[in-house]
């Protein structure tokens, strides 16, 4: 257990590498929020009782549910799926295509989101079930004890999330809108 010589370089290496890892995570998110394409996704009203769990809000979108006919074969929740969503005249988005690889440049009124099956596996053959996906933008953390406030607002008004999407399909929440007004805006850091 003697590591007296060289203890300081090793200690500094651990502290620097761990800090760098944390710093890289922050930088990656900042780039995504800053340079990603911004879209507004309406949030599907779910049972308000189950909408807020503890100190974070569980968000569900119209694009969470993807028609099974858009994808053939089978998929497990470990593999990424790329969902092309198209903008409707009312401003909401609907899934128009699903693929296993990024389809490349999308049309002006379309955005590609990277998502995963929420759990388990899905087979096209077994039934025409819809796919339930997660995109990594399903949790919204709120200060301790303020979940109920947001829940009350969500019950009466239209809730939407401002989402940044980069060219790889990665997405992040930038803020929340209620009745078209930005109520929670995320600072970059």
């Amino acid at each position: 257990m003697t590591l007296k010589r060289g203890i300081w370089p090793a200690m500094a290496a651990v502290a620097v590498l761990q800090s760098a890892a944390l710093g890289w995570m922050v930088a990656e998110r900042m780039t995504l929020l800053e340079s990603g394409r911004e879209i507004v996704l309406p949030i599907v009203p779910v049972d308000p009782r189950s909408l807020f769990r503890g100190d974070y809000v569980r968000l569900s979108y119209e694009v969470t549910r993807v028609p099974g006919r858009l994808l053939g074969g089978s998929v497990t929740s470990g593999e990424p799926l790329y969902v092309t969503i198209g903008r409707k005249p009312d401003g909401s988005y609907v899934p128009v295509a699903v693929s296993r690889t990024h389809p490349g440049v999308a049309a002006p009124d379309e955005v590609v989101l990277r998502g995963w099956l929420q759990r388990g596996r899905w087979d096209a053959g077994s039934s025409a079930r819809d796919l339930f996906l997660r995109y990594g933008i399903e949790s919204y953390f709120v200060p301790e004890g303020t979940g109920l406030e947001l829940e009350d607002m969500a019950r009466e008004k239209k809730l939407a999330a401002v989402v940044a999407v980069d060219r790889h399909g990665k997405s992040a929440i930038k803020g929340l809108m209620i009745d078209g007004r930005l109520v929670y805006e995320e600072p970059l850091f």
Partner: protein, 364 residues
């Protein structure tokens, strides 16, 4: 260690009273014990527990999402605490206070995890939680390997288990990458020659092997788990005859193999539908295996195997009682036969024992 010392002191007092050994010998043995028996002391244990509490304090601090302080300041605070922990660890290790130093390293590794959680919260990241656990495990492994810190390596192993368990729960399929993470941390334990860490590795790997029974072949692979366990136990028995390190680790490996085999057999018998005849036959096999383990543990004075045998036997009997073999009457007959056979074995063991004592007394 404590139990051994207390027992030895009692025995020494008795032997001294009977005049078999001199007072001087008792003193010498006492000095030898004091010199050698420096295991993990109470101060170190408390320091490590304190570090664990600090880690939980940091995680709760993140979870509270306290708004009085900007998020970037909270991240700065966590980073400062992380650097503080490693600085303190360096100072303590430089002074030879290894126990406290490694507790500080553990606290640092814990704060790294809290930092990951805070960033996930800051940006509402809800990607794949196991990925965050994996990043934490990598950080703990880095600290454990570079700073030769056993507690941080133990944290890394627990996190590898959590990562794999979480991923398995989400995907509902065997998580093969577990083996890579497990091997990395286990190799570090091997390099450190830290026995408790190797036991922890064996425990985590055993749990993973048992989980295969529920995941492979649509959840009907329990028989394969039982065979793997029997193979490991058989290998351990064979290794007993080899010299050196193999012989020394054999009893522990036997324990894990037995536990895996029995867990697989238990699931195979009780969690799937079996007709009464098969159930009775398999139960006889299981009981024979457990009695053999009890016998082996008794003969080799290896308490863990002995106790595993007793525990498995009790689990078997209780489960059979609740499942019933065909009818309640059938179960009753089964228990009666089993009871008579075990009592017969006990009588046989008693005869063998007295015969051995007689021959030993005739020898002198």
């Amino acid at each position: 260690m404590w139990g051994y010392r207390a027992r030895l002191e009692r025995d020494l007092a008795r032997w001294r009273e009977r005049g078999w050994i001199s007072e001087a010998a008792v003193q010498e043995i006492g000095r030898d014990l004091a010199a050698r028996g420096r295991g993990i002391g109470l101060p170190t244990t408390l320091a490590v527990l304190g570090a664990v509490l600090i880690g939980f304090a940091a995680m709760s601090f993140v979870a509270a999402n306290w708004q009085e302080m900007p998020r970037i300041a909270r991240l700065g605070l966590l980073l400062a605490a992380l650097w503080g922990c490693y600085g303190l660890a360096g100072a303590l290790l430089a002074r030879g206070l290894d126990g406290f130093g490694h507790a500080a390293v553990l606290a640092g590794a814990g704060l790294f995890g809290a930092g990951i959680m805070l960033i996930a919260q800051m940006y509402h990241i809800d990607g794949n939680p196991p990925d965050a656990v994996l990043a934490w495990a990598a950080g703990a492994l880095l600290a454990g390997a570079l700073l030769q810190s056993n507690p941080a390596l133990a944290l890394a192993m627990l996190l590898v288990g959590l990562w794999s368990g979480w991923q398995t729960a989400l995907v509902e399929a065997v998580h093969w990458p577990f083996l890579v993470g497990w091997a990395a941390v286990a190799a570090a334990f091997l390099w450190r020659r830290w026995r408790p860490g190797l036991h922890l590795s064996a425990l985590v790997l055993s749990a993973w092997i048992v989980s295969l029974g529920y995941l492979l072949l649509d959840g009907h692979a329990h028989w394969a788990v039982a065979l793997i366990g029997l193979g490991i136990a058989g290998g351990a028995l064979a290794a007993e005859t080899l010299p050196g390190i193999w012989r020394r680790i054999a009893p522990a490996v036997l324990c894990y193999g037995m536990a895996i085999a029995y867990a697989g057999l238990f699931a195979f018998k009780f969690f799937e539908k079996r007709d009464p005849g098969t159930l009775a036959l398999l139960s006889v096999l299981a009981m024979a295996m457990l009695l053999a383990a009890v016998f082996w543990g008794w003969r080799n004075e290896h308490k863990p195997v002995l106790w595993l045998g007793y525990i498995g036997f009790s689990a078997e009997v209780l489960a059979l009682y609740f499942v019933t073999i065909g009818t309640l009457l059938g179960t009753s007959v089964f228990f009666l036969m089993a009871g008579l056979i075990v009592i017969g074995l006990s009588w046989l063991a008693y005869r063998l024992h007295t015969q051995q004592s007689e021959t030993r007394e005739a020898l002198p």
